[in-house]
């Protein structure tokens, strides 16, 4: 039969064809139903949103399909409550009861165990959420998945994150890229595994900005504070100086948060360019071309949207983020359609409950 998809053209391999008006017809009833069900509809709302976003995303010549359901997301949530929430609750209860009885050390020890298990499960959750999303994403009826349950990844996540923080945080870029590689290398789509070999060196320079920040901030603060004082002096009198001081302090706080935020955005922009660019599947290579400026525009747009709609706009954030993601994601290479057979990985019957519980993103 016909064979291959050659992707050396001028168009992007990933094209998003949705529009916000159609999305509003999904998102606004979702919001209504979520409110009147005290949040229970949230799981079905998520599934409906994803069905829309996926189906309006074209990869080469066929649209993606989201095959996940609200029920399995609910199931994932219930599982987290039963398997994790209740034991954690019980453990904390016992810890407190022990402390009340005077066994402070044992009580604190149990409390620490509860915290460490959260840390561990946080890693497992990141893995399983990605696995869940790949296993429910279909292109030309083929899905992805993983043969690993993510329990070993949870251990890696713990020790790599800790090692990353130890030397004054200097190894954080290494732990992040290394965990990305480890996670994606265990994932597959159809019969073929993903490969990722992102290097920390590529993002290390950006990461150093965080260390430079205090100095830049200090200078910035002096300038802002000074300007505030001068402005106050211009108004004149003690009152003027007081007003100037307040303006200066506001300036300092703004500068601090915006400055730190900007550095974080610059780092993550570089990070995603590096790690997506180092991820391959069969003969496909991926790239993610969002610059720091693109991210800043996205985030400012988010903030304005939410503020000017008095908060209602938050229902469009998932749309904006998916669109951003798909607009900047590129792929090149060749896919041989008849060797792209169905994935043989096992699929979990439940959704990304843990990650949902910890409120984290999958990618």
């Amino acid at each position: 039969m016909q064979g291959s998809q050659d992707m050396e053209g001028s168009d992007s391999a990933f094209v998003f064809e949705g529009n916000w008006k159609d999305f509003a017809r999904i998102a606004l009833p979702n919001l209504l139903l979520t409110i009147v069900t005290l949040g229970i509809y949230r799981f079905w709302a998520t599934a409906r949103e994803r069905r829309y976003l996926w189906s309006r995303t074209r990869f080469v010549d066929e649209h993606l399909e989201w095959a996940g359901t609200g029920m399995e997301l609910l199931l994932g949530f219930v599982m987290v409550i039963l398997l994790f929430g209740l034991p954690y609750f019980g453990l904390s209860f016992v810890a407190q009861a022990l402390i009340a009885r005077g066994y402070e050390a044992i009580g604190a020890g149990l409390g620490a165990i509860a915290l460490i298990s959260i840390f561990y499960l946080g890693g497992v959750a990141r893995f399983r959420a990605l696995r869940y999303r790949l296993s429910r994403t279909r292109w030309r009826s083929i899905r992805g998945g993983s043969d690993s349950g993510g329990f070993l990844f949870g251990l890696s996540y713990m020790w790599k994150t800790m090692v990353g923080w130890l030397p004054l945080g200097l190894l954080i870029p290494w732990s992040m890229t290394s965990l990305w590689n480890e996670r994606w290398s265990k994932m597959s789509f159809g019969p073929f595994a993903f490969e990722a070999d992102a290097e920390a060196g590529g993002v290390f320079a950006r990461f150093l900005l965080f260390y430079l920040a205090p100095f830049v901030m200090f200078v910035g603060m002096l300038i802002m504070g000074g300007m505030g004082m001068l402005a106050g002096y211009g108004i004149g009198g003690d009152n003027g100086r007081a007003i100037g001081g307040i303006v200066g302090i506001i300036g300092i706080v703004l500068f601090f948060y915006l400055g730190l935020g900007l550095i974080a955005v610059a780092f993550y922009a570089k990070f995603y360019r590096e790690v997506v660019g180092a991820t391959r599947w069969r003969s496909l290579h991926f790239s993610f071309e969002a610059s720091t400026m693109d991210w800043v525009k996205l985030l400012i747009g988010d903030a304005l949207l939410v503020v000017f709609t008095l908060g209602l706009g938050f229902v469009f954030l998932s749309y904006r983020h998916w669109k951003f993601f798909m607009t900047h994601l590129e792929a090149g290479g060749e896919i041989l359609l008849d060797e792209l057979t169905q994935s043989q990985t096992r699929t979990a019957k439940h959704g990304e409950g843990l990650l949902d519980a910890f409120d984290m993103g999958a990618i």
Binding site: Q2, W44, R51, F93, Q96, I142, Q342
Partner: protein
């Protein structure tokens, strides 16, 4: 960068045939990524088949499941072959559409009811559930058997880890005082906790603790009797379980599995009773004190002192939980003073020696442990 090379099929309506009908269709058999383009034929008797140039697939209409609607076509799945995917045009002839599964938009329940009706029903159920949840502490709390409450109290705080002060003289004095304000045969357990805070709490399971800080600043045994009687009132009126349930409900609402019940003693100390509960406990205290002929003036002067130190209004001392969650100190002082109705001469509740034994109880107990919070 990339470009599609396969030809996109068009959804032109096909010609009607004599006794069978057909529409263009695309499908994936689920074993590989190859797309099959052809027609879906149906014979009017429930038989469906997909036909492409080189293949033919028989379908059972009952096996098909609605997937999703896209801009120009509808996706169907198969119950028996989960990986199978079929795309049909959106505008199907009625004869075929009636055989295929109907559209599903929001989920089974909402689709069946319609969005407006479903939203109305869900709202009603939710409002009822919230009302039930909010009022549950008030009607459920007093109905929980005292023995359960005792078990819960045991599980939560046990014996407070040896932080209760004991001396033979002090224990006897406390027992005497308690006997006067708690006439029930099965007494609550009362103790003085080695903690330098002007506070007193009623714990689940009929345990009342006066903090040493409160004992130290008391100027007469009647003051202690008033506070003790008030806390016993909380126990006897079953306020503790109600407050516990309220605290628990709040923590569930805030989804903070680590707050609420698990906060143990700290949570209990900050746990608030409603104003009504406080009045009930005060009423109980005054009734018991009248019965045992204990002067309510001690309690009155205690509250007057609190009012002076903390400004009289209960919102002025958020740190002192016991004071803060209670009605205004001035108001309460007046209620106790009124209870005396001008009478000033009362027999002492306990002797001066016994009062002194209570005051020195924590200092004199060599085994008592310090209260430490993390």
């Amino acid at each position: 960068m990339a470009k599609a090379c396969s030809t996109l099929s068009t959804w032109a309506r096909s010609e009607l045939m004599d006794d069978a009908f057909e529409v263009p269709a695309e499908w994936y058999d689920g074993t590989n990524a190859l797309r099959h383009s052809g027609v879906l034929r149906w014979d009017g008797r429930g038989g469906l088949s997909l036909q492409a140039s080189s293949s033919r697939v028989e379908l059972n209409a009952a096996d098909l499941r609605f997937g999703e609607t896209r801009t120009d076509r509808t996706l169907y799945r198969s119950e028996s072959v989960p990986d199978f995917r079929l795309f049909l045009p959106n505008d199907l002839p009625p004869g075929l559409a009636s055989q295929l599964p109907g559209k599903s938009e929001y989920g089974a329940w909402v689709d069946k009811l319609g969005l407006g009706k479903a939203a109305a029903i869900f709202s009603a159920v939710s409002v009822a559930a919230v009302a039930l949840f909010m009022t549950a502490p008030d009607w459920l709390g007093p109905r929980i058997p005292a023995s359960w409450e005792r078990n819960i109290g045991e599980a939560m705080v046990g014996d407070f880890g040896g932080r209760i002060c004991h001396t033979p003289e002090g224990d006897a004095a406390l027992a005497k005082l308690l006997g006067k304000v708690d006439p029930a045969r099965e007494k609550v357990r009362a103790g003085i906790a080695n903690m330098d805070m002007v506070n007193a709490i009623a714990l689940p399971g009929g345990q009342v603790l006066l903090f040493d800080g409160l004992v130290q600043q008391a100027e007469s045994p009647e003051e202690l009797a008033g506070v003790l009687a008030h806390e016993v009132g909380h126990v006897r009126e079953r306020h503790v379980m109600t407050a516990l349930l309220r605290q628990f409900g709040l923590s569930v609402l805030l989804a903070g599995a680590d707050s609420g019940l698990t906060n143990g003693a700290v949570g209990l100390a900050s746990m608030g009773y409603s104003r009504d509960a406080e009045r009930e406990a005060d009423d109980y205290a005054r009734a018991r004190m009248a019965q045992s002929d204990i002067s309510p003036l001690g309690a009155a002067s205690f509250f007057e002192r609190m009012a002076k130190e903390h400004g009289g209004e209960d919102n002025s001392s958020a740190l002192l939980g016991w004071i803060a969650s209670h009605p205004s100190s001035n108001e309460r002082a007046k209620a106790y003073r009124d209870a005396a109705a001008g009478r000033t001469a009362y027999p002492p509740a306990i002797t001066d020696d016994e009062f002194e034994a209570l005051k020195t109880m924590c200092a004199d107990d060599p085994d008592v442990e310090e209260f430490e919070f993390f």
